[in-house]
Amino acid sequence: MADQRPLWRKAFDSVEQAIGPGLESAVKSDEFADVATVAMRVRTDVARGAERAMRRALHFWNLPAGSDMKRLSDQVASVERRLRDLAKRFDELAEEIHGQRPQSQRPRRSRTA
């Protein structure tokens, strides 16, 4: 069967076939991994430095910084985790005492879509 692809597509495919495998093996090489590791660490350090500077400036004006919000959200998450653990313990206790399926395992029917 004749090749129906337009000219630009044939050109694109031949370029992709020519450079694709080389690019894939370059990305899998140790050298690429080393460079990517350094780049990611530099990016993290720069972001951390900027965050520190911003935090100092905001705290100077007595304003909350991102790190304060993060601390708060960590605390909320920790409270939610404790609540979950408590709920799970209650379920297990209920199962032991009554031999019934815990609340979290009982079907909760609600139409989703």
């Binding site: 337009p6 992709e16 991994a33 660490r41 998450a77 609600s110």
Partner: protein, 360 residues
Amino acid sequence: MASALSPSDLAARVRRDVERSVLRAKNGIKYVAGIGRPDLGRSPKDTVWTRDKVQLWRFHSEKRRYRPPLLLVMSLVSRSYILDLRPGSSMVEDFLEAGFDVFLLDWGIPDEVEAGNTLETYCDEYLPRAVAAASAEAATDGVTILGYCFGGILSLLYAAGHPGPQVRNLISAATPFDSSKASSFPGVLNPGRLEPEELFDETGNVPPDVIANGFRLARPTAQIASYANLWENLWSDEFFEAYQAVDQWARDQIPFAGACFAQTTRMLSRENRLAKDTMRLGGRPISLKDITCPFLNVIAERDHLAPIEAASPLTSAVGSKDVEELRIDAGHVGLFIGRSSRKVTLPKVIDWMCRHSDEL
């Protein structure tokens, strides 16, 4: 040498190209403006069980004629609606049509609260309860589990760690079993380079863009080739709608729970414990030899995330006597999405399931 076109052929070709250019412009504007995005994952269903952010859905059907029910287990890093993409291109729809009672386990979107979730959370806490809930809901003693991608790994760990009749059949699809041959995050997370914790964001999870970049590295030209496909076929409304659906899903990545990512990197990727049969969960050894139920390993031959050499050794790693391997000429996503999936993959998987199920 190309033959010369007659004037009427030339006119027809010009007319076709002009028409296609108009359609291309129309769909191009829609794409750029984000207009007319399809509604995804819309098959009617009930939420029959929840725990934390995890939900178990049961799809509506009046055609159920097989048991055990089918439980679909999705990966942790992508949205589950890929399995129920849109009418006419939904794996769920096809299983329902074939007469199966279909459940889907949706892991939800992790945030700070889930940052501490480990493989044990998923395989020892959520999965056993979800399986029990699905069995109770369908009034059966067991289920057929189909785990897709990393969902396959979770299903294997669960089935090996909880051997028993509750798993009647196990299907693993596009599962990167032998991590030494899989190719996401190439090299960057090897020992001596980045530690998994260095990829965490402020929530303690790995952000979706990091995950997406890790996948992109496996095939660096894939994105641009996908745009070339889009440009070439942008005139076709059918292609455009399908492209938009998959593109929308591919952009809709979710964070990877931090503790689970760290564990996966160390135990599964670096130490390749699953393939080496040295896996441990919750302090106890996990061996895939303890999986003795009928097992089907579905492999996509053009899968760049779970290539054949990473997925195929799984077939002989399980302890089941009734084992089959199904190789499909498809990519990682195309395995269960698209026309060839409907014509090739699903009929074969459904045939296997029918042979391993009871008629009601």
